[in-house]
Each structure stands twice: as C-alpha cells, then as structure tokens.
Amino acid sequence: MARVPVTFTVNGDEQAEFIAPGALLADVLRDKLGLTATKIGCAQGTCGACTVLVDGELKLSCLIPAERVEGASIETLEGLAKNGAPLHPVQAAFAENFAAQCGFCTSGMILAAKTLLDRNQEPDRAAVVDAISGNICRCTGYEPIIAAILAAAAEMRGRKSA
C-alpha cells in the first residue's frame, strides 16, 4: 500500500515516518512511535482519552490525520516526565489523591489539567471542571480528579513563590 512521509516533533524529538494516507495521529503515535499513553476510547471525539497537545493547543488525536500536523510540535503524556525525570506536579497530585482507578482516561485528564495550569495559576473549581469537561471518567466520580488538580495548582504556586 502507498505510504506518505510525515515529519513532526513529539515531546521534543523529531520524528519522521512513512504512514498510510489518512492515518490518524493517535494511531501513528501509538503504533508507529510506541507512545501508548495516548488512548483511543471512542474515535468519535467524545471521550477525551486521545487528548494531546499540538503546538500548545489541546487536540483530540483520533480526529486528526497525521499528515495535518506535518511540521508541528506534539506533546503527549510521555513528555511530562521524560527519561526518568521527576513527575510533573499534576502527575504527582493524581497519584497522591488516588485520582485514577483503571487509568484509561488518566493521560487525557492530566494533559487537560496541565494545560489549564500552564495558563491559569489560580483556577477555581469551575475552571477545573471546565478543563476536564471533555474527558470521560467512568471510575472515579470526578471528585478525586478535581481535588488532585486543585492540589497541583496549590503545589505549583507554592514552588513558584518559594
């Protein structure tokens, strides 16, 4: 079958792949690059499990043909604590607050939360709720996730002022 070349940056590393035309970014990340933190829960844009950052904006990688992000900079959950680096405060807060059960939504949740906190250092509950409103969790009842994000925000403010 025909293959087309794509080049983009993922978590700071340049990647060049030959892919099937129309292949989804989510599939390329997972199957070609082995970056399986990005999950596919619906392929409809309704669950948020495939959330990644494209040039700093949250996007759903199941709705993006990989050819569309030619030259772009992609961030996935694997990029948050790369090569054994310490966990990002949002990751640490999810762990401390028991904010995951099955873990399948966690990648999208953490990226959504991290993006919020990058832009808003003092989010109130409503801002946190909005930030994760596109991410479905079936296990936790959301409350521990909201608590974890608020805790991460406080932690990040603390680090900044320290």
Binding site: C42, Q44, T46, C47, F98, Q101, C102, G103, F104, A126, V128, V129, D130, I132, S133, I136, R138, C139, T140, G141, Y142, E143, P144, I145, I146
Partner: protein
C-alpha cells in the same frame, strides 16, 4: 424560577460472591531466594486495585513489608485458576486463597528459620519489617532474606504455599428457593438531598451522605475510591443512563458519550461517607466485597428525595427531567407555587 429541595433515604445490603455457580479461586505464593514473595494469580484488575490489596493481604499474612510482595497475575499459563473479577468476589475469594497460600509458605519459612536460630518454629514470629524473631526476645532474629536464602541453598526446601478458596455451589431448591446465595453481606445507607426545578423537571443532586459497612477496610483510600465512584454511578443510573432512552421502544439509542448521558464534572454533589466495620466470619481479615454495592443506595435515595421535594413518584429509571416534569404537570403544581 422555582426550585424546591427534598431529602430521601435508602438502605441496602449486598451479597459477596457467586455461590450459585460455585466460586473457587486459587493463589500460589513462593519466596524468591532473596526473600521477596511472588503471588501467582490469574485474577484481573479492572481498575478497582486488586493488585494493591492482594499484596497487602499477602504481606499481612506473612508479616513482611508490602513492598517485598510481587503480584504476578492474569496469565493462564502461570496463574492458577480464578473464576474472574465480578460479583464483588475478588478481594474476598482471591484474598482468602492468598491467606491460605501465604500461611503455608510462612510455615516453610519459619521451619527454616527455626533450624537456623535453633528454636522451635512455634516460638518465632515475623516483625512486619523483614525479620524473623523469637517471640519475646526480638534480639534473637534473622532477616527473611537470610531465611529464604538458606531454604534454597542450604536446606533444599521451597518456601512456598498453595491456596484455594472454594465456596461450594448452592443449588436453589426449586419449589421454595431455599439457597445459600452469598457468604456474607455488606451494607449501605444513603441520604440524598436534591433540588428540583419545578418548571423544567431538572434535578440537581446537592449531596450524597452515606454510611457503608464493609467488613474491614483493607485499604481505606481505595475503599473511598469505590465509594465516591460508586455513588457517582448510582446518581448516574438514577437520573441519566440508558442505552434505550424510550424503552421499550428501541429507537434513539445513544452511540457516543454525547448521547449516552452520565453526570459530568459539573454535576458532582457533595460526597460524604462513613465507614463501619463488622468483620465477616469468612472474609480476609473480615473484608466483604463492596465494589458493586456502592452504586445501589444512591438510586432509590435520589428517587425518594425527588418525591420529598415535589411529591412526584417516578418509578422508572432513569428519572429524566421529562418524567419529573410530566409528573409535576399531572399533579397540577403551579410553577410559582412554593410547597415548602
């Protein structure tokens, strides 16, 4: 705008396990030569945290640190039989199998340690920190590591154990239905507070305050995970969810998470919970299965709270705004009228 509040209660119990099919699970425990313990299972972790709690049960039984337990599960080539993860059976059935296996392994460990320390095995205990010591004389001790090493290289003995927990199948008596459907029962009671919009039938759940009797909370934070997630699912069942919104008509079945309705992060009520423990006779350290039960009491509690608020009984799930509104209109409650 006319919003009315109401409060409702519901109390339930929940059976642990699937006695009606016969309910066995097995576990194998063996020590590595360096004093770690591998628990071999074929049980599945769905997200409820089985791997964590099974390690805690094994550590408690052996009296060793939990971090020295390795859970190796879910490969039918290496793990002994498990019926599966369902019916709130995992903690209870698999936990009991691990206790049995770990008890046998511990005995083998203690026998080796007894030889090494030149005491009677009955006089030895583990200290929970990785040592075996003489009861009442903790200075006479040896690390578990040394005992495991000696077992293999010096004594030629395995430090291992086999465990099974079988609940014999109960066959219901066809005429009377006499049977033994479960080994033990957990309990829950929820008080729900809701606010009903009398003009639109929309229901907001303000709080779910619940007590749960769980036998023994083996990992309290993980019990809390089940409680909060379960209460949310109960609320979801009560007010939102179905694959057939106009049942028994088959039309308009949802196919995605926009159409399949569940509460979002903006619908979360205040959750409060209290834990009670009445250990079950046959549970691992008294634990009962609670994963399923946590979703059950909120559903009728919310239904009863809606009645308390607006005097409308919706006896079919889910209790949609439409059903509530139809009930209100049928009762002729004027939109501006204040009942309370």
């Amino acid at each position: 705008m006319s919003k009315v509040r109401g409060r409702g209660v519901a109390a339930v119990n929940y059976p642990t396990g699937m006695n009606l099919g016969g309910d066995p699970s097995q576990a194998l425990v063996h020590a590595t030569t360096t004093g770690n313990f591998v628990v071999s299972l074929s049980s599945t972790d769905l997200g409820q945290g089985l791997k964590t709690v099974m390690a805690q049960i094994c550590a408690e039984t052996l009296g060793v640190p939990v971090e020295t337990i390795i859970i190796d599960t879910a490969d039918t080539d290496t793990g002994p039989h498990c019926m599966g993860t369902f019916a709130s059976r995992g903690t209870h059935r698999v936990g009991n199998a691990i206790i049995m296996a770990a008890t046998e392994a511990k005995k083998a460990l203690m026998d080796v340690a007894a030889d090494e320390l030149e005491v009677d095995a009955d006089d030895l205990e583990t200290d929970g920190k990785g040592n075996i010591q003489v009861k009442g004389a903790p200075t006479r001790s040896m690390p578990v590591f040394q005992a495991a090493l000696a077992a293999h290289f010096k004594h030629g003995k395995t430090v291992s154990g086999r465990g099974i927990f079988l609940v014999q199948r109960s066959y219901p008596e066809p005429e009377t239905g006499h049977m033994r459907p479960a080994t033990c029962y957990a309990h829950a009671c929820t008080v729900a507070e809701v606010e009903v919009d009398t003009e639109t039938g929309e229901v907001a759940v303000l709080s779910l305050k619940s007590a749960y009797e769980v036998g023994r909370a083996l990992n309290p934070k993980m019990v809390e995970q089940q409680i909060v997630g379960g209460a949310w699912m109960g609320m979801s069942h009560a007010l939102y969810e179905t694959t057939e919104p106009y049942y028994p008509a088959r039309d308009h079945g949802p196919v995605d998470f926009n159409e399949y309705l569940m509460p979002g992060p903006g619908d979360i009520p205040e959750f409060q919970a209290a834990i009670l423990e009445r250990p079950s006779e046959d549970g691992p350290f008294g634990a009962k299965g609670v994963g399923e039960m946590t979703a059950n009491s909120p559903i009728p509690a919310i239904a009863n709270a809606i009645f308390d608020a607006v005097g409308v009984r919706v006896d079919s799930l889910p209790i949609t705004p439409e059903k509530v509104l139809r009930g209100i209109l049928e009762k002729g409650i004027a939109s501006s009228e204040q009942r309370k």
